[in-house]
Symmetry: C2
Subunit: 114 residues, 2 copies
């Protein structure tokens, strides 16, 4: 069953690495967060919200997408606690929920532009 015993290359290193990895739930959470930011449209939304609080209609213009498409994507971002919303009359304003996300985006920009 254990492949280490058949073709084992670096058993000790593997054991040590495995022992230091976070739990599966945490890995999944990280992957979900990254997945939320894996679409250029959503990246644009998040970067826009890093600049200013905006409503759905504003974001549709900024992203050149339909209101509906933006709304669908905002739900994804909302579910992952990446954005928060606030109603003011008919209008729903969105902003970033968390400063981590902005930092994350800017760090990744460094990697991409480098």
């Amino acid at each position: 069953m254990d492949r280490c015993e058949e073709k084992a290359i670096h058993v000790e290193k593997v054991k040590q690495v495995v022992s230091r990895l976070p739990e599966q739930d945490t890995l999944q959470g990280v992957a979900d967060l990254f997945k939320a930011l894996s679409d250029p449209g959503r990246v644009r939304i998040v970067l826009a919200l890093a600049e200013a609080e905006l409503c759905v209609c504003d974001l549709a213009v900024v992203c050149n997408l339909s209101d509906s498409a933006v709304s669908h994507q905002l739900r994804i971002l909302r579910n992952l606690k990446i954005v928060r919303n606030r109603r003011e009359g008919k209008i729903m304003f969105y902003r970033l929920d968390d400063h981590h996300v902005s930092a994350l985006l800017h760090q990744s920009l460094e990697h991409v532009i480098e």
Copy 2:
């Protein structure tokens, strides 16, 4: 044509935000980077490589995946300059290409665990 003039909500804010957004290529690059990390298997690979340099076979054990699956995923990570490889005889060792990525992962862990 310009939706701003029909249902315009916050024209000035929109203009300012748009002017501050990176180019589409950059947004796409960021999205690609995040997409590469949007799979728990690849997150596991990257976190493992943040701990030690490992070969494909080691990673297959660590991630409980086939060698082939790991190899496919490593190619994705390689194409995005997230990992580098080095051959030593028959064995191909992988390590992180860039300290940004490790920082990115740890920042996202904070968001998730919070």
